[in-house]
């Protein structure tokens, strides 16, 4: 039999003003199992807690009911107090007689009656409560970063600096991501490579960082602190440990007709290649789709020229399994496919390019060696038209494009225009804009410079049609809403500010991680305001554009934020679990799998378990098992279970029904 103590708080006049606390204490004192009942002005005060803890000891109470403010306010306070006084914190319940009684009801008798009812419910619950102890799970002190762009790099470096080992998994042969393809960065116009490559090298040399390039995550098992991840290391046919990156093979390789994805396919590379000069790891990779040796056994030049004997045509995909405490998603973005936009003649004319292609055309390491030439005939463009919001800000029901604003286009378009005007003052730049969005430090100043200092023509309006002309120029037909006229511009190049979208690998990855995503395939945050770098799934963190369009400063900021969250997790040796989790009674479990189907966390698994049957038989039955470290205690399973085998600790069927009975008495 429980020995329950009831403590009614006045909260000054907050409660006592409308509730006759003495009467409540007296009424509850008469309840079954209540051996002590009293009231006090401020239960949460030091002396109030003193009162409780003394009563617990003197009256050797087994359960405590505090009639006070909302449990959301002081449940922890009082549970800690109970724990200090030697009883299990979960043997304490709170009757909310302030927010849900004295503050919503002016009439004293009524409020008092309700307070008593709520008190009785709490007593009834405590009577059935069982002590609960939070389980603990060890934390694997190793982090996985998925994606090796600037976001992944920054996160990895920060975690590594804090002294924890980190693996970066990157699908491409090198880390660096999109930023490595950029020419300059806005609004400072410093060179992207110059600021990125040192960080890449740092990653490559850091003793705590392992780069798994040319690899993919294929399976994720486990939960916060204890993920087990299977990583596919795609065969690169070059031994990373031996290859020195001398580049001899890439020179000699006879297969020269491979579209160079690093240059947005604006030029070609060899079948064996190193994506770019500052690649990390600086190791060659053979492209199996083009290598003549791999396709029809002839050739083999690279293996001949390779001093290091690194070439291995027999290499196969290998799978490695690793344990991690935390997973950071940094899968980044891609520009949308523009071929759908017939009106811009993107598929028709090589001189209509996407902004990322334009970046390569401006880039010293690009296909044109940094001199701006138009792809079709390699002539200097005299007139360039920039079109903004291509595929951004479309209505939800539009089949091409996205509903959101891609955030970075306004700024990089201004950057492109400025750079063009700066290098080639004789080239006219026109920018068709709907709005110019420049929220950011020195952003609007930058845009104004484009207009005022560099004389870029900004036209409020949209391009309706681009028509390639016989003379190789492009007729750009658009509207000038301020002049209220339709304009035709004879352009040499058109640059489309393509909307950016989440990487294709993000969706399957989210499924593997049971992390939630929005309709645009961007990862959702645990809380849009207060927990922006965590996924709702514990132990999974978000870095960079996988969570939404971002520019470099925002990305790096979020990357470091994610890193700090990961560090905060990894410094812990053990994780305390929420003790109010589901528990299945194996004797009653039918093994019907219904609970498994409604569990949002995959916390429930089924095992074949041996039971002792009558007269020395063994009955092997399928029974549910809850992983207390994964279960979050929502209780969905308890309702779907017909036999009542599945119950929720701290909110058991009997406890809740006891409350119901007490209230209806």
């Amino acid at each position: 039999m429980q020995r329950i103590g009831v403590f009614v708080c006045h909260c000054g006049t907050n409660i006592a003003g409308t509730v006759d606390v003495k009467a409540v204490a007296e009424a509850l004192g008469k309840e079954n199992g209540v051996v002590y009942s009293t009231d006090y002005t401020y239960m949460c005060s030091a002396s109030g807690q003193q009162l409780i803890s003394e009563a617990i000891k003197e009256k050797n109470l087994t359960g405590v009911v505090v009639c006070s403010c909302s449990p959301r306010m002081h449940e922890n306070t009082f549970r800690k107090c109970a724990e200090r006084s030697g009883i299990n914190p979960y043997m304490l319940e709170i009757a909310n007689i302030r927010e849900q009684d004295s503050w919503i009801c002016k009439d004293m008798p009524t409020a008092t009656a309700k307070a008593v009812a709520l008190g009785k419910a709490a007593v009834a619950k405590v009577t059935l409560n069982a002590p609960l102890t939070a389980g603990e799970t060890p934390v694997t002190k190793r982090a996985l970063v998925i994606g090796g762009g600037i976001a992944g790099i920054q996160t990895a470096l920060d975690i590594a600096e804090a002294g924890f080992p980190v693996d970066i998994v990157e699908t491409k042969p090198t880390i660096g991501g999109k930023m490595a393809q950029l020419d300059k960065t806005f609004p400072t116009l410093d060179c992207a490579a110059c600021i990125l490559t040192p960080r890449m090298v740092e990653c490559g040399q850091h003793e705590n960082i392992r780069i798994l390039s040319y690899s993919e995550v294929t399976q994720v098992k486990g939960f916060v602190g204890n993920f087990t991840v299977t990583i596919k290391r795609k065969a690169r046919y070059v031994d990373e440990t031996k290859c020195t990156g001398c580049g001899e093979c890439t020179e000699k390789c006879p297969q020269k007709k491979v579209p160079n994805e690093f240059n947005m396919n604006l030029d070609n590379r060899h079948a064996i290649y190193i994506p770019f000069a500052q690649a990390v790891p600086k190791v060659a990779t053979i492209d199996p789709d083009y290598c003549m040796k791999l396709k029809d056994g002839k050739c083999g030049v690279c293996s001949i020229v390779c001093q290091a004997k690194a070439i291995d045509y027999t290499a196969k995909d290998t799978f490695i399994e690793e344990k991690y405490g935390a997973v950071v998603v940094a899968t980044g973005y891609n520009p949308i496919d523009l071929s759908k936009y017939n009106e811009f003649a993107y598929a028709e004319s090589r001189d209509v390019v996407s902004s990322l292609e334009f970046e390569r055309l401006m880039n010293a390491a690009g296909p044109t060696g940094g001199t701006l030439l138009r792809p079709s005939d390699g002539k200097h463009p005299k007139t360039i038209v920039f079109v903004q919001c291509v595929g951004s800000r479309c209505s939800a029901d539009a089949e091409k494009g996205h509903e959101y604003c891609s955030k970075i286009c306004c700024m990089y378009t201004a950057k492109h225009a400025i750079l063009t005007r700066d290098h080639y003052p004789d080239t006219e730049c026109y920018v068709f804009y709907i709005d110019v969005r420049t929220p950011g430090k020195n952003f609007d100043e930058f845009y104004r410079r484009a207009v005022e200092q560099y004389g870029v023509h900004y036209i409020k309006g949209m391009v309706g049609k681009v028509t390639p002309q016989a003379d190789g120029t492009l007729d750009v037909q658009g509207s000038d809403l301020i002049m209220d006229k339709q304009v035709h511009i004879k352009a040499d190049m058109v640059v489309l500010a393509a909307s950016i979208e989440a990487d294709k690998t993000a969706r399957p990855l989210a499924t593997m991680l049971t992390a939630s995503m929005d309709t645009n395939d961007f990862f959702t945050e645990a809380h849009p305001k207060l927990r922006p770098v965590e996924s709702p799934t514990a132990g999974v963190y978000l870095s960079g554009c996988c969570q939404g369009p971002k520019d470099i400063p925002d990305t790096v900021a979020q990357a470091s934020a994610a890193a700090s969250k990961v560090i905060g997790l990894l410094v812990k040796d053990k994780l305390k679990n929420n003790p109010c989790v589901a528990e299945s009674n194996e004797d009653m479990c039918n093994g019907c799998s219904q609970c498994e189907n409604v569990c949002p966390y995959g916390a429930i698994t089924y095992i074949q378990k041996d039971f002792r049957g009558p007269n020395r038989t063994t009955v092997t039955r399928r029974v549910a098992q809850v992983n207390p470290a994964v279960c979050q205690g929502c209780g969905a399973c308890t309702v779907t279970c017909p036999s009542g085998a599945m119950d929720l600790k701290g909110f058991t069927n009997k406890e809740i029904m006891a409350e119901v009975d007490a209230i209806c008495r």
Binding site: M588, N590, D610
Partner: protein, 334 residues
Amino acid sequence: MQDDKLSTAAVRDTLVSRASALLKEGKVQIVLGWRKGLFDYDVTPSLFTTAEDIERNFVYNEWCGANLSKYLVKETRRIETAKDTVRTNNKMAKAKNPDAADAPEPQTKILVFLKPCDTYSFTELLKEHRISRDDVYAVGVPCDGMKDPEKKDISERCTVCKSKKHVTYDELVGEDGAVQDSKRFDMVEKLEAMPAEERFAFWQGELSRCIRCNACRDICPACTCEHCIFDNPNSGASQKVAADDFEESMYHIIRAWHVAGRCTDCGECSRVCPQNIPLHLLNRKFIKDINELYGPYTAGSDMETKPPMLTWTKDDAEPNVVYTRDKADTQGGR
């Protein structure tokens, strides 16, 4: 009717010969079928182990309404237990003496005859892992509708037969039928159309007759809980007998609720009810609602489809749809 009888007689003989054959071949060791009783209409589900017994006592006729699928839960459990026991004994023997010889695991298979509607229950039970498929040899048998011993005429559930298709089987006797569009929801609709008072009176009238014999639960192929909450003192909801007019309704609502989305509408609950309470109407109500609100779904029609109660869509109807959709009766409500 006449030639129906003939055909069932013919069917009976094929079933008998198949059963005996399979027993002789050793394909199966046990046969689950229908045993004839004193009068032609009292037919009981029963186990047969010898060809002779089958020859003499096995019947298949218009009185074989009983759905045999549920018995497989216990029977396959028994078969598995025998295996498991040997397995553990072997393990223990090995533990004592590493080179102890393994005793062979007993190989038993049970033959079961399933009418089309029974195959739905069978499939649903497989879906919920209540039957181990490997232990069962299922023979689909044709059905022209079964009779109600009291009415001495075709029973209600067969007049609105939902399907003559066998969902799961190893072997089929006769031609397979197709899913039929049945009028089985007519009565539910009729009740829905009544004013609330009349509906209440109707159910009060029906359920007050309930004697809590639990026959509906014990026969129900969806009610296969290891331990029913209504029998379990620790569930906090145990009710041995109905203590008041409320508990009958409570028991029946909760039972219908527990089988919602799992009930195949086999109609056994109503068949066995000694008080002739139309319990199947409660289940049909849920089935009808599910079909209307969450798209057509027939429990036991396949192994893959996720049951409606275990899934959801972002634009499901809000609960008050219940109160807004039938404008007819406006009392209470919002």
